[in-house]
Amino acid sequence: MKLRLIIALMVLTFAAGAGQAQSRGALRINEVMVVNDDNVVDDYGRHTAWIELFNSGFAPLEISKIYITNDKANPTMYPVPLGDVNTRIPKRQHVIFWADGNPTLGTFHTNFTLEPGKDNYIAIFDADGHTLIDEVTVPADLVPNTSYARSIDGSGEWQVRAATGDNDYITPSSNNVIKEGNSKVQFFSERDENGLGLTVMAMCIVFSALLLLSICFYIINRIGAAVLRRNKMKSQSQQPSEAATAEKPSHDSGEEIAAIVMALHEHLNVHDRESTVLTLNKVRKAYSPWSSKIYNMRELPNRAKH
């Protein structure tokens, strides 16, 4: 009973761990604008401060019930409401929350505002209200219509963006870094034109993986052989006989194994489970009325004779 309880607890622990793995830890504050005079407008056509959140994971993320706050002392300032389909953020995508202090305007309008000229603390907490997911303090000297953004989506250094050049752009609800193709492929195109580098690395990895497996099984072989020897010696010491003391070959040939299996089958009717050797399986075709066709057919009623 105790063993069952322990197993059940272990399963529950693992399940809880798996649940944790699906948590909202992948959510990131990605870009913030405190004073918005001529940047993006909300769904009412108004310019207000905004906070961009980013799902840095590769699975969709449901953010209802998380908390967004601008007050360290009050982590449950704005709970993201339930029941809005837009709170499910697809993989590697963004949503914008409008920090306009007017939550009656919709799910994405917070009940707090951001204050120009002051440090603005912004944090997101998980549904339990005390697990911090991400936080940032937007500096007080952020000038109007500039944003405070991560250099790379979901990670990287925070930087001020003023939309003044090619690499300095404000990106509400889109990637902070504009991608032009697969960066890995570009990297290999530029740095490994003839493919020798990748070939050497890849072959080393393939050899290492299989060598590791090979060594591992060499060790398991040795351990298995040692255990077998020990068991054999133990059984010999318990039942000493002339046959047991006879010298055994280091390996068995297929013919010997086949002969042993045949002998077992003939005299003891013991079934060998080793599929690679020789498996003798008696095929039984026992009659069962449950599968009999005759019972599935209705007999024609006999016409009564008058």
Partner: protein
């Protein structure tokens, strides 16, 4: 409009929908290719399980129709039946299911009994990366080169899996090329094996492998999955399913699941995979100069893979004691065309010594090749996806 005009107008419209009206010479070329595959499978017995579905799929995919009519029948038209079935190929979930079946069918005893044979499976992956370098030279981008090079692994599901991730537009040509060369293994490999070996080497007799306990067979898929996937997590879909299938087989307590995975499930997925891969080779997508390049590179990858396996054994023999020498004829089996290439090793070995049965020895590198090509695929995905 009188009744005659009505009939003529509608019949004319119908005529415009028919295959005869919409056909081009490219369609007929592809139909001929499909028929050739079916002929190879039925008359020559070349991988019939694969070539019949692929060949017939080519026929299905190349029946011409008016693509502007909105009939939703083409494999590339979203929502069509073929498109839904093709999702398993384009999203890459058929290949791991095939690997589950391969795992449930494969006996790794030969490998467990003689673990050093795993290195032959690793050496044969030179074919993949040799072809990768040549593909780059021919002007393919690194992701396309990686997808084409995987043909050298001689593993159709892996080729489909990788090309669906790295170069979806080349997948049809890559898949057909991979399966064609797998079918041609008995033609391609023996001359190479003879070329790189001496008569004396071909007659090397290897010690019979020791018997492997059931415990070892159970430990193998668990340790194998953990070790290989810790090294190459990107190979998890293939390696995870391969070893899972093998555990179903060897555990001894899931016989029904193992039987389903190795029989019914594999058969269903093979039918769908083969047919949809064949149907994806629509003339407009398939008959390009790139396809010729892919077939040439695929052939080269196969040659390098087979040769490097044989040459690696010769090299390995230099450091092995006389009693433990390996017959280089099993080197070709490092490619993962299971069990075809192992059978070729055995047949060629018997030609030079009628008492020298190499089949079980060759199965070691053969199944190591399956693991090796899945690891190589994971490496390519990790670097290029």
């Amino acid at each position: 409009m009188n009744f005659g005009d009505f009939l003529m107008q509608n019949l004319h419209q119908f005529w415009q929908l028919t295959g005869f009206y919409n056909s081009t010479w490219e369609n007929f070329v592809m139909l001929a290719v499909g028929l050739f595959f079916i002929w190879l499978a039925i008359k020559k017995d070349f991988e019939p399980m694969l070539l019949v579905p692929i060949g017939f799929g080519i026929l299905i995919g190349n029946v011409p129709f008016n693509t502007m009519a909105g009939l939703e029948i083409g494999i590339y038209e979203e929502g069509s039946v073929l498109n839904i079935l093709y999702n398993g190929v384009s999203a890459g979930w058929y290949p791991p299911l095939i690997f589950l079946g391969i795992g449930a069918m494969t006996d790794f005893s030969a490998l467990i009994a003689n673990p050093k044979l795993m290195l032959i499976g690793a050496a044969a992956q030179f074919g993949i990366f040799g072809a990768y370098m040549v593909a780059l030279l021919l002007g393919f981008s690194p992701d396309q080169a990686g997808a084409i090079a995987i043909i050298g692994g001689a593993d159709g599901p892996t080729a489909i899996f990788i090309s669906s991730k790295l170069a979806p537009n080349l997948m049809g040509a890559i898949a057909v090329s991979a399966y064609s060369y797998m079918a041609l293994v008995p033609v391609i490999q023996p001359p190479l094996m003879k070329l790189f070996t001496t008569k004396k080497e071909r007659q090397i007799k290897m010690k019979p492998a020791r018997a492997v306990s059931q415990n070892e067979k159970i430990i193998f898929p668990i340790v194998g999955m953990l070790l290989t996937c810790f090294v190459v997590p990107s190979g998890l879909p293939l390696l995870g399913m391969l070893f899972f299938g093998n555990l179903l087989r060897e555990s001894g307590v899931t016989t029904r699941l193992a039987k389903t995975a190795s029989n019914a499930l594999t058969d269903i997925v093979t039918i769908l995979l083969g047919m949809t891969v064949g149907a994806s080779t629509q003339a407009s997508q398939f008959l390009t100069a790139q396809t010729i390049g892919i077939f040439a590179l695929g052939f080269m990858a196969f040659v390098i893979a087979s040769s490097s396996g044989v040459l690696f054994v010769k090299l390995f023999n230099l450091v092995l004691p006389e009693s433990k020498k390996i017959n280089p004829l099993i080197g070709n089996a490092g490619v993962s065309a299971v069990p075809m290439s192992a059978r070729i090793s055995n047949n060629l070995g018997l030609q030079y010594d009628p008492s020298n049965y190499l089949l079980m020895h060759a199965m070691g590198p053969n199944v190591a090749g399956v693991i090796g090509s899945a690891v190589a695929a994971g490496v390519l995905l990790g670097f290029l996806a």
